[in-house]
């Protein structure tokens, strides 16, 4: 993420001066310009995941307009196998950070879900009742689990960003 920001800054400095650069520098500059285009062509999952924060229990949170959407990561859904049932809380239920709020069932195993933050459940994904497989197929989008209010925004600082989470899961393998 920091690298991309740095590249964008460099391109902003370079582009007006391009015609006057010597050839090797022109090539280098054009390569830099090309690379700054990369963020715009990233796949959908990555674009969404730049806004995601992760817990060490492999849950993600996306915050939009003061509401947090919660789901499980690709690493988690792959480890689980085919989800056959989503046991989710009721709307209105108050959750503490790390409190167990439900379970996903796959091949006779119930895997518990832990709240990434403190807040109140405002919505549950009713699509999952008839189509629990969405958790496997679209874990960052259609397979979201619950939406909740964010009582302590500071709790989000303690969660991992995508890059840190990627490092974390590599350390587990």
């Amino acid at each position: 993420m920091a690298m991309r920001v740095a590249l964008r800054c460099i391109s902003a400095n370079f582009s007006p001066k391009l015609p006057q650069l010597s050839r090797p520098t022109q090539l280098a500059a054009s390569r830099l310009l090309w690379r700054t285009d990369i963020p715009r062509t990233l796949s959908t999952a990555s674009r969404l995941s730049t806004a995601l924060k992760f817990t060490d229990k492999h849950e993600w949170v996306r915050v939009e307009g003061g509401v947090g959407t919660v789901g499980i990561s690709s690493f988690a859904q792959e480890a689980l196998g085919d989800v056959v049932y989503c046991g989710l809380p009721e709307v209105g239920q108050k959750l503490e950070q790390l409190e167990e709020f439900g379970a996903l069932e796959s091949v006779k195993a119930a895997s518990e879900l832990y709240s990434p933050m403190t807040g109140e459940v405002t919505e549950i994904n009713t699509e999952l009742s008839d189509n629990p497989g969405l958790v496997n197929k679209a874990c960052y989008e259609g397979g979201w689990l619950i939406k909740m209010t964010i009582e302590n925004p500071g709790e989000l600082d303690g969660l991992m960003d995508e890059a840190s989470y990627d490092k974390f899961i590599k350390s587990l393998e």
Binding site: K57, V84, Y85, G87, L98, A103, E105, S106, V107, K108, A109, A110, S111, E112, Y114, S129, D130
Partner: protein
């Protein structure tokens, strides 16, 4: 309590657990012993106490560098999976008549019948070391060590089959924050007739997304070989567990009703007994049924649609012509049901109150309607 602890000391051979220290909980003793492999056997045959023991070990014992095997048996009980619908899985009426309790596990999977002829095995590990196949291999190896020609095999669905056809074991698991447990049943000498009877649901017309069971033909190991009783099998599995992991753990008896050694366990077993957990945790479902109503001179077909959420009747519609039962009476009957538990006792109370306000001529018809609705519960 002291007597029980002395008995436990006699049970152990070379264990380092210091039972003499009166002020220690089970966790303290385990940690002090430094043992990485522990085998426990329950002194209780109460399903709720034993399920609570599992929860307690999972929640309070450090399983990061330790494995525990828990051996237990229960008096007759039906145990459903965490996300199951008991009305869809078993004959609740028969169970009530015979005093057979219903319990809901915290692990997934399907419905099983327990009695003293069934052995339960729970394998506790860290989440990293969770390995159901390895655990089932321990069980099949133990059985084959006892009887080398025994045809027992674990399947892809984590069942164990005898002679390639009869299910003798079913599996379920729960994965928590940092630890996991995998438990399975093992049919030694269970009452198969009662098993078939209680696992046959009587409620028809259920529409639900609860996890279903997959019925299978079953057999007892004792029928295959009359020396394979529960104790022999439990000892064999314990021994194989030690061999598999290089442990030398004796089998230690534990009392799941001992609040001193297991602080908080009583609250856990109480919670497992509540209606709110066993029946109220059923995923929302609906029933569409039709039945014939009778009075002294005629009969009438009626249809019923009920929605049940958290075990409470959310919506109730009965389709019945007004010549049989006036619409206002029928509507009032439905309205009384909404908000009540889907439970015959609760229905009986509601009906008694309702009948007091019903005219004499309608009492028989109303009672007949009630009987049909209760037959679904």
């Amino acid at each position: 309590m002291i007597l029980r602890k002395c008995l436990q000391v006699r049970e152990q051979s070379k264990a380092c657990l210091q039972w003499a220290r009166a002020k220690s909980t089970f966790t303290d003793l385990i940690d002090e012993s430094g043992q990485s492999g522990v085998i426990l056997k329950s002194m209780s045959t109460d399903i709720y106490e034993n399920l609570a023991m599992e929860d307690w070990i999972h929640d309070y014992v450090d399983l990061q560098n330790r494995k525990i095997l828990f051996l237990w048996r229960n008096g007759p009980a039906v145990v459903i999976g965490r996300h199951q619908n008991p009305w869809q899985e078993c004959n609740l009426q028969l169970m009530r008549q015979r005093g057979i309790p219903l319990a809901r596990r915290r692990s997934g999977g399907g419905t099983v019948y327990h009695d003293l002829g069934n052995v339960n095995l729970t394998f506790f590990t860290s989440k990293k070391k969770y390995d159901r196949n390895r655990n089932l291999h321990i069980v099949t190896s133990a059985l084959k060590r006892l009887r080398p020609n025994l045809d027992v095999r674990a399947t892809e669905r984590f069942d164990i089959l005898l002679n390639g056809h009869y299910k003798i074991s079913g599996t379920a698991a729960k994965l928590g924050r940092t630890a996991a447990y995998h438990h399975c049943t093992l049919l030694c000498s269970a009452d198969r007739a009662l098993l078939s009877a209680v696992l046959k649901p009587t409620c028809q017309g259920i529409k639900s997304n609860a996890t279903p069971s997959v019925p299978s033909p079953v057999k007892n190991l004792l029928d295959e070989d009359n020396t394979l009783d529960c104790d022999t099998i439990m000892n064999a599995v314990a021994s194989q567990y030690n061999t598999e992991f290089g442990f030398s753990s004796p089998v230690t008896l534990v009392d799941p009703s001992d609040e001193f050694s297991f602080p908080g366990i009583h609250k856990m077993s109480s919670e497992l007994k509540t209606w709110e957990w066993t029946l109220g945790r059923t995923p929302k479902f609906s029933i569409s049924a039709s039945f014939d109503l009778h009075d002294n001179s005629s009969r009438q077909n009626a249809s019923l649609n009920i929605d049940i959420k958290n075990g409470i009747i959310d919506n109730c519609e009965i389709d019945l012509p007004p010549h049989w039962l006036p619409s206002d009476v029928r509507r009032e009957f439905c309205m009384l049901l909404v908000g009540g538990k889907f439970c015959p006792n609760e229905m009986a109370v509601i009906l008694a109150a309702f009948l007091r306000t019903t005219s004499q001529e309608l009492k028989t018809k109303t009672y007949n309607l009630y009987q049909n609705v209760v037959s679904l519960m």
